[in-house]
Amino acid sequence: MFRGVAVAGHSMEPALRDGDWVIVAPLWRPPRRGEIVLARDPRVPERLVLKRVARVEDGRYTLLGDRPDESTDSRTFGPVALSHVVGRAVFRYAPLARARLL
């Protein structure tokens, strides 16, 4: 299912800003390097994070924030299995002035 997700934090700036609302699409193909995905934090699976795919190796995804100094990502929780990738952020719908495909 497509779902709306609110962004909390600054690790994905300037691509995604704190408070942006984005549409996350279910995966219809494995994510590729450079795409922004919604994933489960392997340490706390109910915690969802939005990060960019930096590397794909052996079916595991290294996810990094665009701003490393403001990001908790694969450097802390390690590469993430595909089963922990929930979907891909495809469109920002709010704020309207910055609405666009991601």
Partner: protein
């Protein structure tokens, strides 16, 4: 209902930093557990009701702190690859956290000893997983001696 309420996401995703300092050591939990052990000893050695009441309060605080430190090791330090290599760590942390609750509510010295042993088992895995070099800063040679 306003349109914005309809569009408002029901999910929040984090794009931030939980600022892990990266320092983790089971010794922190052990010191709190040792406090519980000694407090229970002192409790039984005393005839002062006021002292005994204080001992109970402080032991409960220390047991809670030990539990917190174990939780931090489990949720922040141990990574999926550690669990793969040392699968016992899940149960060790889980049981040790539960043992903290037991110590919190008990005045049996044996319960405190059991907790110490459990924390030592966690420390063994932490050491095998490279914890001492990965998470602690080296001490100056003079301080080590």
């Amino acid at each position: 209902m306003f349109l914005t309420d309809l569009l408002k996401p029901k999910t929040v995703a984090y794009a931030h930093c939980d600022l892990p300092c990266g320092v983790y050591d089971p010794e922190q939990a052990r010191i709190e557990a040792e406090s519980c052990y000694k407090i229970i000893e002192k409790y039984h050695a005393s005839n002062d009701e006021h002292f005994k009441a204080r001992a109970i309060v402080i032991k409960e605080e220390r047991a809670e702190l030990a539990k917190h430190h174990i939780d931090v090791l489990w949720s922040d330090y141990f990574k999926p690859e550690h669990v793969q290599k040392y699968p016992e760590i899940t149960e060790l942390c889980w049981k040790a956290a539960k043992q903290c609750s037991k110590v919190k509510g008990s005045l049996e010295i044996g319960e405190a000893k059991t907790l110490l042993d459990m924390i030592d088992k966690i420390a063994d895995v932490w050491t095998k997983a490279g914890g001492p070099t990965a998470t602690r800063l080296p001490k100056a040679a003079a301080a080590r001696a």
